[in-house]
C-alpha cells in the first residue's frame, strides 16, 4: 500500500523569501506535501518535518535570526524539536536555529565582507542523520550558497565534542572533494557548511538545497537527496510505530 505523503511545514516569517521555494521544492516530491506555518501562530498543524527557510526574517536589521527566534511559532518549533521532531534550517533558518540554541555555534559575517551567491561543492561528512540518509558518505553535492553571514564559528571545546559526536554534516570542498583554499565561500571554521544537534533531529545548513531540485534549471538537482532523506526518515519512523 502506498503511504500517505510526508507532511512538511514551511515557516513564514515576515521577510522570509525562500519560503515559496522550499514549499515548491517539497511539492516536486510525489511522496511529500507542504504547508505554510505563519510566524504569529503556534499550531504546527501536525506536520512531520519543519523547514525554517532562507531570507531576511524581520529584515535581519539586528543579528540574523535574532528576532525570528522569539516569534510565537518558534516556541512550538522548539518544543517539536525537543520531542524529536525533524527540523531543517536553511540559511536564515540555520541562523535562527543557532539563535534559538537548537544548534551549537554562531554564524558571523563572511570574511569577504560581501554577500556571496556562488556554486559550492559540499562533501557529505555523515549519512547518520535523517537529512543525509539517502546520500553516500563522501558524496559531493553541488549547490548554491547565497548569504552575507554564513561564516560558521564555534568554540574549540564544542567543536571537538561535535566532531566526536559526528555532528559535522556538510563541508565546503573543491571539485575533487578536498578541503582547499578558495572552496570555502565565507571563511567558516573548518569549512563547515552544515551541522546537526547531538540528538541528530535538528539540522542547519547555509547552502540552498531547495534551489537544486529540478533538472533544466541552473541549480541542478543535487539538493533532492536531502529532501529525499527526510521523507525516507519520516516513513521509517512511521513504519516502526505502526
Amino acid at each position: 500500500m502506498r503511504s500517505a505523503p510526508v507532511r512538511f511545514g514551511v515557516v513564514v516569517f515576515p521577510g522570509s523569501n525562500c519560503d515559496a521555494d522550499s514549499y515548491h521544492a517539497v511539492s516536486t516530491f510525489p511522496g511529500a506535501s507542504a504547508q505554510y506555518l505563519w510566524h504569529k501562530d503556534t499550531d504546527l498543524k501536525d506536520v512531520q518535518a519543519v523547514i525554517l527557510p532562507g531570507g531576511f526574517s524581520y529584515g535581519d536589521y539586528l543579528r540574523c535570526g535574532a528576532i525570528a527566534r522569539f516569534s510565537p511559532i518558534m516556541q512550538s518549533v522548539i518544543d517539536f524539536a525537543e520531542s524529536g521532531g525533524l527540523v531543517m534550517g536553511i540559511c536564515n533558518g540555520f541562523q535562527t536555529l543557532v539563535e534559538a540554541g537548537l544548534l551549537p555555534g554562531g554564524l558571523i559575517r563572511n570574511t569577504g565582507l560581501k554577500f556571496v551567491c556562488r556554486y559550492v561543492n559540499l562533501r557529505v561528512e555523515t549519512t547518520d542523520t535523517p537529512f543525509t540518509g539517502a546520500c553516500e558518505k563522501g558524496e559531493l553535492l553541488r549547490i548554491v550558497v547565497k548569504h552575507n553571514e554564513g561564516n560558521y564559528t564555534v568554540d574549540a571545546d564544542t567543536l571537538s565534542s561535535m566532531k566526536a559526536n559526528d555532528q559535522i554534516v556538510l563541508r565546503y570542498v573543491d571539485a575533487a572533494g578536498e578541503q582547499a583554499e578558495g572552496a570555502n565561500p565565507n571563511g567558516a571554521l573548518d569549512d563547515i557548511a552544515g551541522v546537526c544537534n547531538e540528538a541528530r533531529n535538528v539540522f542547519g545548513m547555509m547552502p540552498h538545497p531547495e534551489n537544486s531540485v529540478e533538472a533544466g534549471l541552473a541549480g541542478g538537482t543535487d539538493g533532492r537527496k536531502l529532501f529525499q532523506s527526510i521523507i525516507d526518515a519520516v516513513l521509517r519512523t512511521a513504519e516502526v510505530r505502526s
Binding site: 515548491h24 529584515g59 554577500f115 561543492n121 547565497k146 534549471l217
Partner: protein, 763 residues
C-alpha cells in the same frame, strides 16, 4: 486663507515666469504655496517629460502581444498560456551619484513597486551601470556602493538579480548611471491600473510613515545638473527599507488578487503629489486628500512637505467602503500602516486639506495635460564626423604580440567578467533561473508551463557618442541578438534614455537621433517600446555623459528547454561565424585600450541582415542543431572566441549533457579552440590588418558551434545567410591563424586569469 505664492517663490522652485503665468491662469489668480509646490514638481522634467514627450511619440508602442503600452507604471506583454510580463526600467543616476548605496537601493525599490503596483509578482531585476574609470578611487567607491545597494535591497526582497551590464568611461566620472530594470509575472486578466474611480471610495495610504527624507529627492535631483553643491544634496537622497517593501509586496499582491482594491499606485518621485494627481487625472475624477491624516515620522511637518515627501515603501490605493475592513485586516497581518487619508469626489479637482482648511484646489486634468512642452532647436555637435578613421601605421601602429593584445583586452574593465558584482546578487531565488549571469541573456522558466522568458540589456555609450542614431539602433539590435543567441524571440523593449542637459541644442540633437535609431530598429525587429524613462541633466560642471540610451528587452520561449548559452560544449564541435564579415576600429574597445582614442564613425547596422540572421539563428536553435551561440561585441571576434572558451569551464554546470561535467560544472577545465580567420582583406573595415580582423567591432556577428555531423542540416536552415567555418573546439589553448599563418596561441587558463582580473583593480 492659505498663503499665496509669488513669482519669486515659483522661480526658486525651478519654474519659469511663463510657467508661473500659466499656473495663475489655470488657478484663476495667484496659487497657494502648496499648489505651487505641486505644480513645480509635476511640471519638473522628471515628472512631466517636457523636453522628451514630443520626440518619444516616434516610438512604436503597440502590437498583438502588447496588453499595456507606455503611460502606466509598467508595460505589459502577453507571453502565452494566460501569462503576461510587466516590465520597466528607471534611472536612479542622481541619487546614486550623491549617495551610491542608498541611491541604488532605492532605485531597485522604486522600480519593483512599479511592477507589483500593477498586480505582477516581481520575478527578475537587472541593472545597467556606468561609472568613470576604475583608476579613480571615487569611482571604485561608487561602484562598490551601487553594487552593494542593489544587492542589499534586491536580495532582501527575494527577487533574483540575473544580470545587467557595467561600463566605465571618463564621461561618467561626475555623473554615474544606475538604471534599474525589473519585470514581473501576472495573469493577463489580473492587471490593475492606476486610475481612480468610484465617487465616495476611500483613498488609502499603505506602508511606511512619511518623513522629511527625500523632500524633492529624485524629482529635483533629476531635473538639474551637478555642480560643487553635490555634497549638500545628500539629505535629498531617500533611505530604503527593503523589509517593509517585502511586506508591501506580499500585502499588495494579496489585496489585488483578492480584488480588494479598485486601483493602486506607488509613491515614487514627488510622492503623494504625483500619485494622487495621476490617479485623479486618469480617472477623470477629483480626489480629496487630508494631509493632516497622513501618519508622520516627524510631528511638525508642513502640508507641502507631506505632499512632496519621497519617503519610500508607500502605496496609494482606492478602496470601496465595503472592502475597507478586509484591506485593514490584510495590512494588519503584515504589520503595515493602513490609513484612509481621503476620498474620490466628483469635483475633478485635486483638493488638499489641512485640519479642515483647503490648502490646494487644482484641476487635476489641467495639471496633467497642460504641463509645458519644450522642443530645443537641435544642433549637430562639431565633434561628429561622417567618415571612419583612417587606420594607418603611424596613428595606429599594429601590435607586435597579438596574444598579449587579447589578454589586455580581456582584462579591460569594460570586457572583463563582472562576476565580482553579480556574485553579490541572489540570482537563483524563486526557483525559475535557467541561465545565471555572465551570459548573453538572463533566462527564466514560467512555472507549470514549458514556457520561458529571457531578458537582455545593452547600450554602447561610446558608439552612441560617435553617432547617436547608429549607436542607439545598434543597442536595440544587440539586445535582440543577445536574446536570439539564447534561442528566445524578442518581443518588447523598455528603455532608459540617459542624456545631458536638454536645454542645449547639441544634447537635444543626440536625443532626437537616438530616438530615431531606436524607433527604426524596434520597427524592424518587431519589438514595441512598452515602457521607459528619460533621464536628462546627466552633466557635471557642464560636461555631459556619453548619450546612453539603455535598451532592456524581453524575449519569449514556447519551450524554454531549447535555450542555449555561449560556452563551448564539446571537443570536435565546429565553430561557425554567422552574419557580417566586418570589423571596425571606430569606437571599439581595442581603439580605446590599445591606442587611447575614441574617434571615427561607427558602422550602421544592416537591419535586414540582422533580422534574417536572428530569425535563422533561432530556427537553428529550435531545430536543436546548435550547441552554443555567442554575440560578438566589445573586443571583436577574438574576445568572443575567448569568452566561449572561458565559459566552458566557469559556468553553473547544469547545461552540460555529460553527467560528470554537470556535476562539477567543469570547474577550471576549459575547452580551447583552433580557428583560422581566413584573409583580413576579405573583412570589411579591417584595412587588411590581422589585429583589426581579430579585435575590430561590427554588428550582426554571432559565433555558434555545431556537432560535425549536423553541419549539413545547419546549412539548410541557414540557407544563404553569410557564414564561414572558423575552426574547431579542441584542446585547452585558443589558437588563431590567418590563412594558415599563426597569429597567437594562448592557454585558456591564462585568458581566464585576465578575464577574471577585475577584483585586482578594485583592491
Amino acid at each position: 486663507m492659505s498663503r499665496r505664492a509669488t513669482l519669486d517663490a515659483a522661480i526658486k522652485l525651478g519654474l519659469t515666469a511663463d510657467e508661473y503665468a500659466h499656473i495663475c491662469e489655470i488657478q484663476g489668480g495667484e496659487p497657494t504655496y502648496v499648489e505651487l509646490a505641486i505644480y513645480s514638481l509635476m511640471w519638473s522634467e522628471h515628472c512631466s517629460y517636457k523636453h522628451s514627450r514630443p520626440v518619444l511619440s516616434r516610438f512604436p508602442t503597440s502590437g498583438p502581444r502588447i496588453l499595456q503600452g507606455p503611460g502606466e507604471n509598467a508595460g505589459i506583454i502577453d507571453v502565452g498560456d494566460g501569462w503576461a510580463v510587466a516590465m520597466k526600467v528607471e534611472s536612479h543616476n542622481h541619487p546614486s551619484a550623491v549617495e551610491p548605496f542608498q541611491g541604488a537601493a532605492t532605485g531597485v525599490g522604486g522600480i519593483v513597486r512599479d511592477i507589483f503596483t500593477m498586480g505582477a509578482r516581481p520575478c527578475v531585476s537587472m541593472d545597467s551601470l556606468r561609472f568613470g574609470e576604475l583608476t579613480e578611487p571615487r569611482q571604485r567607491f561608487l561602484l562598490d556602493g551601487v553594487v552593494g545597494g542593489i544587492a542589499h535591497y534586491g536580495n532582501c526582497l527575494g527577487i533574483p538579480t540575473i544580470g545587467g551590464e557595467i561600463y566605465f568611461e571618463p564621461s561618467y566620472e561626475g555623473n554615474c548611471l544606475v538604471n534599474a530594470m525589473s519585470a514581473g509575472m501576472i495573469r493577463s486578466d489580473g492587471i490593475v491600473r492606476a486610475i481612480a474611480s468610484g465617487v465616495g471610495n476611500h483613498v488609502v495610504l499603505i506602508g511606511s510613515k512619511t518623513g522629511r527624507d527625500g523632500i524633492g529627492g529624485a524629482s529635483v535631483l533629476a531635473s538639474q545638473e551637478f555642480d560643487e553643491t553635490l555634497e549638500e544634496k545628500r539629505p535629498s537622497v531617500q533611505v530604503g527599507d527593503p523589509f517593509t517593501e517585502k511586506k508591501l509586496i506580499e500585502a499588495c499582491l494579496e489585496l489585488i488578487h483578492r480584488k480588494l482594491v479598485v486601483s493602486m499606485q506607488d509613491l515614487g518621485a514627488a510622492g503623494l503629489t504625483s500619485s494622487s494627481s495621476e490617479m485623479s487625472s486618469k480617472g477623470f475624477v477629483g480626489l480629496d486628500i487630508h494631509a493632516d491624516r497622513v501618519p508622520l515620522r516627524e510631528a511638525d511637518m508642513e502640508p507641502w512637505e507631506i505632499m512632496i515627501s519621497e519617503s519610500q515603501e508607500r502605496m496609494l490605493a482606492i478602496v470601496t467602503d465595503e472592502q475597507i475592513a478586509d484591506v485593514r485586516e490584510v495590512c494588519e497581518r503584515w504589520d503595515l500602516d493602513c490609513t484612509v487619508i481621503g476620498a474620490v469626489t466628483d469635483s475633478k479637482m485635486l483638493r488638499i486639506w489641512w485640519h479642515g482648511e483647503r490648502v490646494a484646489n487644482i484641476p487635476a486634468r489641467r495639471l496633467a495635460d497642460e504641463s509645458p512642452v519644450i522642443r530645443t532647436p537641435s544642433v549637430k555637435p562639431d565633434y561628429i564626423v561622417d567618415e571612419p578613421v583612417a587606420v594607418d601605421d603611424t596613428g595606429y601602429p599594429p601590435p607586435k604580440d597579438l596574444g598579449a593584445a587579447l589578454t589586455q583586452l580581456l582584462a579591460a574593465p569594460n570586457i572583463a567578467s563582472k562576476r565580482w558584482a553579480w556574485e553579490q546578487y541572489d540570482y537563483i531565488v524563486q526557483a525559475n533561473t535557467v541561465q545565471i549571469p555572465g551570459s548573453d541573456a538572463a533566462v527564466l522558466r514560467i512555472k507549470d508551463t514549458d514556457r520561458g522568458i529571457a531578458f537582455s540589456n545593452d547600450c554602447n555609450g561610446r558608439h552612441c557618442y560617435l553617432d547617436p542614431y547608429r549607436g542607439a539602433k545598434a543597442a536595440v539590435a544587440e539586445a535582440a541578438r543577445n536574446l536570439a543567441c539564447a534561442g528566445a524571440l524578442p518581443v518588447a523593449v523598455t528603455d532608459c534614455l540617459n542624456f545631458g542637459n536638454p536645454e542645449k541644442g547639441e544634447i537635444y540633437w543626440q536625443f532626437e537621433q537616438a530616438v530615431e535609431g531606436i524607433a527604426e530598429a524596434c520597427e524592424a525587429l518587431d519589438t514595441p517600446v512598452v515602457s521607459g524613462n528619460v533621464s536628462f541633466y546627466n552633466e557635471s560642471f557642464g560636461q555631459a555623459i556619453y548619450p546612453t540610451p539603455m535598451i532592456g528587452m524581453l524575449g519569449v520561449y514556447d519551450d524554454v528547454s531549447l535555450h542555449i548559452d555561449g560556452a563551448f560544449k564539446g571537443e570536435g564541435d565546429v565553430i561557425v561565424l554567422l552574419g557580417a564579415e566586418a570589423a571596425w576600429m571606430d569606437g571599439s574597445e581595442y581603439q580605446k585600450i590599445a591606442y587611447g582614442k575614441v574617434e571615427g564613425r561607427v558602422p550602421d547596422v544592416d537591419l535586414k541582415l540582422e533580422v534574417e540572421m536572428q530569425h535563422k539563428l533561432r530556427a537553428a536553435i529550435e531545430a536543436r542543431l546548435l550547441r552554443s551561440a555567442h554575440d560578438c561585441a566589445e573586443g571583436g571576434l577574438a574576445v568572443a572566441l575567448a569568452e566561449c572558451c572561458i565559459a566552458s569551464g566557469s559556468t553553473g554546470g547544469a547545461q552540460f549533457e555529460d553527467p560528470e561535467a554537470q556535476r562539477s560544472g567543469r570547474d577550471g577545465r576549459w575547452l580551447g579552440a583552433d580557428v583560422d580567420l581566413g584573409s583580413a582583406a576579405s573583412v570589411a573595415g579591417a584595412a587588411g590588418r590581422p589585429d583589426l580582423a581579430l579585435f575590430g567591432e561590427a554588428p550582426t556577428r554571432v559565433i555558434v558551434t555545431v556537432a560535425p555531423e549536423l553541419l549539413g542540416p545547419l546549412d539548410e536552415v541557414l540557407g544563404g545567410l553569410p557564414q564561414r567555418v572558423l575552426g574547431r573546439v579542441t584542446g585547452s589553448n585558443l589558437r588563431c591563424t590567418m590563412e594558415g599563418k599563426e597569429l597567437f596561441t594562448v592557454e585558456v587558463g591564462e585568458l581566464h586569469s585576465a578575464y577574471e582580473s577585475l577584483p585586482q583593480r578594485l583592491a
